[in-house]
Symmetry: C2
Subunit: 256 residues, 2 copies
């Protein structure tokens, strides 16, 4: 449960401006790319001091809603939603935790398996084309080594997430992929190129693409789980692997 402080009697000066701007963005009155009034105009508009306006700007920037540049006379620009706030929360929760890698992998498996299922249900022909192209880029990247291949692999997953048509899933999955990448990029580079694993990954992703094309949501979801486990499972200490394995094997077709 989130901790609660006593309800404020009246809002602080900067909060009034934050709420106003957030409301205008949420209602679509301010769109991505639009500019806010300059700081001195907001001073006049809200009848507050310029430092209160600047405090509000810092909050909106921190939340990924706007960006400003020194000297730009056009005012701060409204941004599209980003994974940055979630990245920050993930960092806060997993930093230096002994089980952080397995929990990040669990989180990623959770999100990507649903993204795959949704992509199978909601995908368009244009999505399929983008998936084809992304897979082709993986084949090219395979010849360039592990680092390029990892990047192309992340791109493929992102295209799948876009095909899911679920922005929140997409941004969440992006955030956790970036966190995992940062945590283990050194380890992956140390392990050197593993061409066989890259080849199997491409085959897996081809299967995912086929399942999405065939609108087979269950197969797409299952493949996300087994693929992630095969690619990353060896990085998890054996005693921590049970939970990840349980998730990976959920919905497996019966053996035989």
């Amino acid at each position: 449960m989130s901790q609660s402080s006593p309800a404020p009697v009246k809002p602080r000066a900067f909060e009034t401006i934050v709420r106003h701007v957030e409301a205008r963005v949420l209602t679509g009155e301010l769109k991505i790319g639009d500019r806010l009034p300059g700081e001195r105009e907001l001073v006049t508009q809200f009848g507050v001091g310029r430092s209160s306006v600047r405090e509000a700007m810092r909050v909106l920037e921190s939340n990924g809603m706007i960006a400003s540049r020194p000297g730009d006379p056009r005012g701060a620009v409204v941004l599209s939603p980003t994974a940055a706030p979630l990245r920050r929360l993930i960092t806060r929760l997993t930093h230096s935790s002994a089980s952080s890698l397995v929990d990040l992998l669990i989180y990623r498996m959770t999100l990507e398996s649903s993204a795959n299922s949704l992509a199978a249900t909601r995908r368009s022909e244009a999505d399929l084309l983008r998936l084809d192209e992304a897979l082709e880029r993986m084949r090219v990247a395979r010849l360039q080594g592990q680092a390029a291949f990892s990047q192309a692999d992340l791109d493929f997953h992102d295209v799948v997430a876009q095909a899911s048509g679920h922005a929140l899933l997409q941004l969440s999955a992006e955030a956790v992929r970036q966190s995992i990448e940062q945590l283990i990029s050194a380890r992956i580079e140390e392990s050197g190129d593993d061409d066989e694993l890259m080849q199997r990954t491409i085959e897996h992703h081809q299967e995912v693409l086929t399942a999405i094309r065939d609108r087979d949501a269950h197969l797409a979801e299952h493949l996300a789980r087994s693929s992630l486990f095969e690619y990353y499972g060896h990085l998890v200490p054996v005693q921590q692997r049970e939970a990840l394995a349980a998730l990976a094997s959920f919905g497996s077709p019966p053996a035989g």
Copy 2:
């Protein structure tokens, strides 16, 4: 892909303080409940103006890392991680979107099913006791009406999430539950008490508890999906329901 601005040549005055404080929290040097130095001491420590210090404080507050109170001579307090940043992102992404309810339900099903699976793998005896107590509170709340029952139901899910031992899953699930609650609380209250549905929900949760007690991860995961679909599925327009249904039916035991 998050948009990128040109790399800054040097950090802004407030950013130096934000980074310093974040690093000290991440390394454990500053713990939850600890106090930061007061603003005027940070001015001296960092050699910057007090308005720059205050801008840094606004950023740290906005990210849920600290809280301050007017007049408190002890300085800002370090908070435990909260769902607030994710709540804000969810609001940004789903506000006034026509498909926001189904996407929120999908997100919640995604997270809670994994939380159930993890809880089955990682739960302790203390967790089981807390789950027993949470279910008992649901039985009591049933007699008090739908609003009390909904709250007790949310509490039960949160106890399950705690038993998962996965803070990120727990906070994410909490954020999406709160968002759904806010979106449909009026609708639920309008529909009046449905004692039969409340009774079935309790039965479902008893099955979840049994599956967690039996360490049956797959059953626990499956029950989260089917239960959410049964409880909320009717609120989703038929044409949007396919994706949710596909997720709900993943991993279903064969009929018969």
